[in-house]
């Protein structure tokens, strides 16, 4: 009992400074970024405001007034270029951006809670009320990251603190996580899922781990379709939690390939189209796609198969994703500069080398569950990149606007990114220097965050 009490005391000691730090850091971004200056913030807020006004199923009579109030506020806060203003003379809804009604209402119902109490207050106050929900989820995400690090790295107390702090100080993450955006709930749910997975990997099937993983997965799936790739780490974890012995490649390779072949045959068919053999989705998958995924699988497959058209686009997609993952804020229009982009590239290359070194050094030293946790992170990073790159398909006809996905779509896997980053960083240094190198990495992120909010200040308040 006394030992348990000491554990709780030690944990509370961490929470007592980590939680206020997360809240204050998030509050900085919440306060510094002007209203409506996050990705699709007006349209996300509009959906939540409609729910708060009782229009849950579809936009109703109040939707016009809500859209006008938001548009006027956007105008007041200098969202529109000089000389332009929204047309509020006509009694019809103003288009505020991408229609978020295609997403399930879970996140928007949560964001609508403070709006319900602020209905008769200014739309700006309502916006900040909804942002406060995001701020709380950001702080909880940092705490979840800390618990993940404690679970997966029981013998590394320094890394247990550094991992959540790296997440906390990643500026693009803090920026998005204090916005009104359904990605906020997806990212939080992904961390809860990862916490559940970590416990399942460490302890095998146990109720709390399973509950956390299922809760995280369910919340993510009921928030946004971009959460579907989270089924991969969940499936892997279930497999590894159930089979806690080493799996020889002679077993998992043929089993995995057979499973993949079976799923492929059940999902796709070949058909000759205009003389060429094409792979097309089966009818059930097509219907599922139209109702839920909205990838437009038939066109998507045709687009992916057109290598000549798509191959030149991938390098640009990867560049945009990479830069926006680390160094683009607000609507993606605030850049931290070419030097930060270059630093991020150099760091990534160095860390990849460090990962190889560290992987070689750690071979056979870690228990199986810890090895698997590293592979799980690796799988999440690969899936996040692959799915987001593929998001560029189906490509539009030549000359039309191409939507390039931004790095924020990979934030559900940001902790695995940061963990591999820290691991690879350690691999670059000899053992006696690793402690200070880890603190150096943390200070680098603190500097990056400070530079980021200085850039926000300069762009929004000094230059304009």
């Amino acid at each position: 009992m006394a030992a348990q009490w000491n554990v709780w005391k030690a944990e509370w000691a961490v929470i007592s400074w980590l939680l206020p730090l997360a809240l204050l850091h998030g509050l900085l971004y919440l306060a510094l970024v002007p209203p409506w200056q996050h990705y699709d913030e007006p349209s996300h807020f509009e959906y939540a405001a409609q729910i708060a006004a009782g229009e849950f199923e579809a936009p109703g009579p109040q939707a016009v007034g809500i859209s006008h109030a938001i548009a006027v506020s956007m105008y007041r806060h200098g969202f529109y270029p000089p000389g332009e203003h929204p047309n509020i003379e006509e009694a019809r809804r103003i288009r505020l951006g991408y229609n978020q009604r295609v997403h399930p209402p879970l996140y928007y119902s949560v964001a609508a809670v403070p709006l319900g109490f602020l209905q008769d207050r200014s739309v700006e106050l309502q916006l900040y009320g909804a942002r406060m929900v995001s701020l709380v989820l950001y702080a909880l995400s940092v705490l979840a990251a800390w618990r993940i690090a404690v679970t997966l790295l029981p013998d590394e107390p320094l890394m247990q603190l550094v991992i959540p702090l790296l997440l906390l100080f990643t500026p693009t993450f803090a920026d998005l996580m204090t916005a009104v955006n359904s990605d906020v709930l997806v990212n939080f749910a992904a961390l809860v899922l990862l916490l559940g997975c970590a416990r399942l990997l460490r302890d095998g099937f146990q109720p709390m781990g399973l509950l956390l993983a299922l809760f995280g997965l369910a919340v993510a799936l009921f928030t946004k379709r971009t959460a579907i790739p989270m089924l991969v780490p969940f499936g892997l974890t279930l497999l590894w939690a159930g089979w806690r012995q080493p799996l020889p490649w002679r077993i998992w390779l043929p089993t995995g390939l057979s499973l993949l072949a079976g799923v492929s045959i059940a999902s796709f068919r070949f058909e000759r189209v205009e003389g060429a053999l094409r792979i097309l989705p089966r009818d059930w998958l097509l219907e599922f796609d139209r109702n839920h995924l909205r990838i437009y699988l038939d066109r998507w497959l045709l687009s992916v198969a057109d290598w000549e058209l798509s191959a030149p686009i991938y390098p640009e997609v990867v560049r945009v994703m990479f830069e926006s993952f680390w160094a683009r804020l607000a609507w993606g229009h605030i850049s931290l500069g070419a030097s930060v982009d270059l630093m991020a590239r150099m760091l990534t290359v160095a860390v990849c080398i460090g990962l190889l070194v560290r992987g070689w050094q750690l071979r056979g030293q870690l228990p199986l569950w810890q090895q698997r946790s590293i592979w799980l992170c690796f799988a999440m990073v690969c899936v996040a990149w692959f799915v987001t790159i593929m998001h560029v398909h189906p490509l539009p006809p030549y000359g039309q606007w191409l939507h390039i996905p931004r790095g924020r779509y990979m934030f559900w896997a940001i902790l695995p990114h940061l963990w591999l980053l820290a691991l690879g960083w350690q691999g670059l240094f000899p053992q006696p220097w690793r402690r200070w190198a880890t603190i150096g990495l943390l200070l680098l992120f603190v500097g990056l965050s400070s530079f980021a909010w200085s850039s926000v200040l300069v762009d929004f308040y000094y230059l304009t």
């Binding site: 980590l18 306060a31 510094l32 105008y75 900040y128 603190l161 603190i439």
Partner: protein, 229 residues
């Protein structure tokens, strides 16, 4: 070593914070509006609306002073005051009512949340449109507003929709001036923000608090690093 430096560090940061907040204290500055040459009092008996352009000279408009002569019969009645960007969206930046009885020694001072007046990439117009809507006056009540023959630089007043060729409203704009703005535009950050976000000292206090929390975090990280090493 870390523990021994910890307390003075926090105290030092708190002193910096307090100083920053004191530096950020509000210092409203009233500037001349329309010059007071050839002033006259315009009777509001038949007036339903007065419009006056304001060419803002300061960056943060936080109030206006109007010259009024108010009859005791009308002290309970409200004067509606609205402000808009001229040529912009026909929506009010400010829309409030002030009782005519708030007039003291012939001056009605109206205060409101700061309006950022400078034309930038993000704001469309440096010129504001002031709209005054006097209440219907009871019979026998005499309420008058100060107008001036000097119409530069703001232009003439529009009375009930008709441009007066001679007079302009004689008003005094009140601008918010903060010393900290020269270093850090806290007034601009607070302009048109709700609640505590609209209070300029909030921003230096927030940054200061964050720095304290950061120092605490780094202290813990260093302690753990030392213990685990």
């Amino acid at each position: 070593m870390i523990r021994s430096y910890w307390f003075p560090l926090v105290i030092g940061l708190l002193i910096v914070l307090t100083s920053a907040a004191m530096l950020a204290a509000l210092q409203p500055v009233a500037q001349p509006g329309a010059a007071l040459d050839g002033v006259e009092l315009l009777a509001l008996t038949e007036v339903t609306q007065l419009e006056q352009r304001i060419m803002a000279e300061g960056e943060y408009l936080v109030g206006l002073r109007l010259g009024l002569k108010v009859d005791p019969l009308a002290t309970e009645l409200p004067l509606r005051l609205r402000l808009r960007h001229e040529g912009g969206l026909p929506r009010d930046l400010i829309n409030l009512e002030v009782p005519l009885g708030a007039t003291e020694q012939g001056v009605l001072e109206v205060r409101f949340a700061p309006i950022f007046t400078r034309a930038t990439l993000h704001t469309s117009s440096p010129t504001l449109q002031l709209i005054l809507e006097p209440p219907p006056l009871p019979e026998g009540a005499d309420v008058r507003i100060l107008v001036s023959r000097q119409t530069e630089p703001h232009g003439s007043v529009v009375v009930n929709g008709e441009l007066d060729p001679i007079f302009a409203l004689a008003f005094t704009p009140i601008y918010q001036h903060q010393r900290l703005d020269a270093l850090w535009p806290v007034s601009r950050m607070a302009a048109q923000r709700p609640g505590p976000l609209g209070w300029p000292p909030f921003y230096p206090l927030l940054v200061g608090s964050f720095l304290v929390a950061l120092m605490v975090a780094l202290k813990h990280v260093l302690l753990v690093s030392r213990e685990s090493g």
